[in-house]
């Protein structure tokens, strides 16, 4: 197989930027549509008996008259989601009772799900998550450094894996920011998806790096770029099979059939894991080559033809 993947490396970076930037700009301009897990607030999903569900505006007005600022979204055939600022448990109970009386429902069946989060909690989750990711990144860099100690410049492998990991994380964040157009919110489940993408991202990079490690023992004479290209091509089939054919099958079926609570989660994982594989081949490995050749010294290889051959 003669595939020269590395020669177009700057194109891949441009492509990634194209994917990341729109969401990131939207994020800076309008912010992330945060769910109540982070902003604090109350979310009540009410289940009405068949045919008894009030119109959206009617329910919203009723809640407003009751003294609760709110937005109402209808869900499914018989459910309505009422989102309000943070209410304590007494307020929630009295609202449920009020709604049950108004619409002649049993309070027990009306309470489909409730979640109520105090305003102080959210900030803590966000900062802790950031710390967790930073700690995980450091742990992974150190491990890769150790695991690749037998070949020259082992430290670079860890750093390149982490840069590609940040790339994957940014893609997911960008996607979540764009999600506001189809009504997504950033919840703790989204956060879990983000953390997963980051976790699996590294796993994928290591498979490619492992091949580079092995080849650099056998093919000592080869130029580094050729060696890396060769390693990518050798692991390509595995990358495609693992990602597209097994993990993505399962995620796709979760996204389509897994019910509303898992849909956003599955879609983010679907895109995130795909990009994880993409970035092993098109970001992490090219970065290694750029570092090896110190291409920033000649203005990122400008105008020079690549010499890689696999």
């Amino acid at each position: 197989m003669k595939l020269n993947i590395l020669s177009k490396r700057y194109w891949y970076f441009a492509f990634s930027l194209l994917l990341i930037l729109p969401g990131l700009i939207l994020l800076i301009v309008k912010g992330m549509p945060m769910g109540i897990d982070f902003t604090g607030g109350t979310l009540m999903e009410l289940k009405f008996s068949e045919g008894n569900r009030p119109e959206r505006e009617v329910l919203s007005q009723a809640a407003l008259d009751f003294g609760i600022e709110n937005t109402v979204v209808l869900s499914g055939d018989s459910n309505a989601i009422v989102r309000t600022p943070f209410l304590d448990d007494d307020q929630i109970e009295s609202f449920i009772k009020f709604a049950a009386e108004t619409y002649k429902e049993d309070p027990a069946t009306l309470r489909y799900s409730i979640s109520s989060v105090g305003p102080s909690i959210g900030k803590e989750v966000a900062s802790r998550a950031f710390l967790a990711v930073a700690a995980a990144a450091l742990g992974v860099i150190l491990y890769i450094w150790f695991a690749f100690r037998s070949i020259p410049n082992s430290f670079r492998y860890g750093v390149c894996a982490i840069i590609a990991m940040i790339h994957d994380g940014l893609i997911v964040i960008s996607l979540s920011a764009l999600g506001r157009f189809w009504g997504w919110q950033f919840t703790s489940l989204t956060l879990t998806a983000l953390l997963t993408v980051i976790g699996f991202s590294v796993q994928d990079k290591i498979v490619v790096f492992d091949r580079i490690r092995e080849n650099s023992r056998i093919l000592r004479k080869l130029e580094f770029e050729t060696l890396v290209n060769h390693s990518i091509v050798q692991t390509l089939q595995r990358s495609i099979n693992t990602q597209l054919m097994t993990s993505e099958f399962m995620l796709l079926s979760m996204a389509l059939l897994g019910g509303t609570s898992l849909r956003d989660f599955s879609v983010i994982l679907l895109v995130g894991l795909l990009m994880g594989t993409y970035s092993s081949i098109f970001i992490a490995a090219p970065l290694l080559v750029i570092w090896e050749k110190e291409e920033w010294k000649n203005w990122f290889n400008k105008g020079k033809k690549s010499t890689a051959q696999a």
Binding site: K47, D89, E93, A108, T109, R111, Y112, S113, I114, S115, S116, V117, G118, I121, E124, V125, R128, A132, A136, G139, V140, Y143, I144, A147, S188, L189, L191, T192, L195, T196, I198, G199, F200, V202, Q203, I206, V207, D210, R211, T235, Q237, R238, N241, T242, M245, T246, S247, F249, M250, L251, L252, S253, M254, L256, G258, G259, S261, L262, F265, L269
Partner: protein, 468 residues
């Protein structure tokens, strides 16, 4: 491989054990002294229930000690036992929070009332009656509170009382003994200090009363020597000591067959009939049973379909090796389920997601080996050589990539448990477990079964059988 036959026997044994654990047991699972429920433990999001996060309600900068939190947790746990749900879980989360989970409970009012209860401690005059620990008891104070909650019953009771009043007075005492209401002498508010002391090398619980309560107590004890003064917490007897003499000094001791532990427990309950720190509810989630059931069904169906598609692909692409992988995944699934039950791990929605993802990871270990296998076959190696080589060559990447995932999962777990973010924690646990089992499966099952394929495949057909 040195002894493939031994490996094969080990695989079959593990698989059979796992299957035995997996099938649902009507009367619970019992292995030696180990007892587990017959079915998987389902999380709140799959069976419905409530999750409440309580936070110490103190001013900023006030430090809450770990002891205080633990005592509060214990007291809450005792109170919740009255709810009649078996697996209520209380955990201290972080430095100032307690996370409570009530699987299967969707009656928010009842749960919240229990958590917010103040903990009423009473000293009750039970006359000559010794009360058993844990018995419910009606006192002046508990009756008045139950009257408030149920208006209809009190009106009915009132008419009944009127009727008996006009006819015969002896009747009314009879009805009273059926639902005897005891007199509360003092409440926990009268206590100044409680401590455990040693008296003749047996532990006793010593208490001091506030000055205004000492007189009431002195009068009562001198009039009731030899009778019982029962200590009641939230309408339940916790101890029923006999009055051995008049207590006039405002301090006394409770003797009994105490061990150091039980004396300490009583003193904690006396001291903290109310919680050691005030707590407020900062977060609560309630998931209706119907929602839970829906989620469980849908995610299971989705998982099975995804798995079937992946298995189909493996067999079509890797032929015989693919079939080996499918067997390995079945082994992986059976062992995972068994461990979920044995440890036990509560299966939540995010846990299912983690499980499905690591199943993908388990396929990956197989794919890594098979790609190597094909490569070696193409390079002209014999099938026996190729099978040995594919393991040794693929192992370093399986190991390193999985260790990196383990590092991430461990950090996620720490993040999840220190904060009480159960979603993240459940996910991290199933991720860790999945990674470990999938490495074990690749090492033992895939390798051994691949070895046995060489016995049935003739070298001239090997390319056809392995999809080279």
């Amino acid at each position: 491989m040195k002894k493939p036959f031994v490996n094969l026997i080990i695989i079959i044994l593990i698989f059979l054990c796992a299957l035995f654990v997996d099938v649902s047991h009507e009367n619970g699972l019992r292995i030696g002294s180990l007892q587990r429920s017959g079915n998987l433990y389902l999380g709140l999001d799959l069976q419905g229930g409530m999750q409440v996060l309580l936070e110490a309600d103190v001013e900023d900068g006030t430090v809450v000690s770990a002891d205080q939190l633990n005592t509060a947790r214990q007291i809450l746990e005792n109170r919740s036992n009255g709810l009649g749900v078996s697996d209520v879980v209380f955990q201290v989360a972080g430095s100032n929070r307690i996370l409570a989970e009530f699987p299967g409970m969707t009656n928010t009012e009842e749960v919240l009332a229990t958590l917010k209860g103040t903990g009423l401690l009473e000293f009750v005059d039970t006359g000559d009656e010794f009360m058993m620990e844990g018995d419910p008891i009606k006192t002046d104070l508990t009756v008045s509170s139950s009257e408030k909650s149920s208006e209809t019953t009190t009106t009915a009771a009132a008419t009944a009382a009127n009727l008996t009043d006009s006819s015969d007075s002896s009747d009314s005492t009879e009805t009273a003994t059926e639902e005897k209401v005891y007199h509360t002498v003092l409440t926990g508010a009268a206590l100044q200090n409680v401590s455990v002391q040693m008296e003749n090398s047996t532990p006793v619980v010593a208490f001091e009363l506030k000055s205004d309560a000492s007189q009431t107590f002195a009068d009562f004890t001198s009039a009731n020597i030899g009778k019982y003064l029962t200590i009641v917490l939230d309408g339940k007897v916790i101890s029923s000591p006999r009055i051995n003499g008049a207590i006039t000094g405002g301090s006394g001791v409770i003797t009994g067959n105490f061990t150091i532990d039980s004396a300490n427990a009583l003193s904690v309950q006396l001291k903290y009939g109310a919680l050691p720190v005030p707590l407020k509810i900062v977060e609560y989630k309630m998931i209706g049973a119907t929602l839970g059931e829906d989620s469980l069904k849908k995610s299971l169906v989705a998982g099975l379909i995804g798995l079937a598609l992946a298995a189909l692909f493996m067999i079509l692409y890797y032929r015989l090796a693919g079939a080996v992988a499918v067997l390995a995944i079945i082994f992986y699934g059976a062992v995972s389920l068994a461990l979920y039950k044995l440890i036990p791990i509560t299966l939540s929605l995010s846990g299912i997601a983690g499980f499905i993802l690591t199943t993908g990871g388990a396929f990956d270990a197989n794919i890594l080996m098979f790609e190597r296998l094909k490569e070696e076959l193409r390079n002209g190696k014999t099938i026996n050589q190729a099978i040995t080589l594919c393991w040794t060559r693929a192992w370093s990447s399986i190991r390193d990539s999985n260790v990196a995932t383990l590092i991430t999962a461990a950090i996620l777990f720490y993040f999840g448990s220190s904060f009480g973010a159960t979603i993240v924690k459940g996910f991290a646990v199933s991720l860790c477990l999945g990674v470990l089992i999938s490495m074990f499966t690749a090492f033992l099952v895939t390798r051994t079964l691949l070895h046995y394929t060489t016995k049935v495949v003739k070298p001239e057909n090997q390319n056809k059988w392995f999809g080279v």
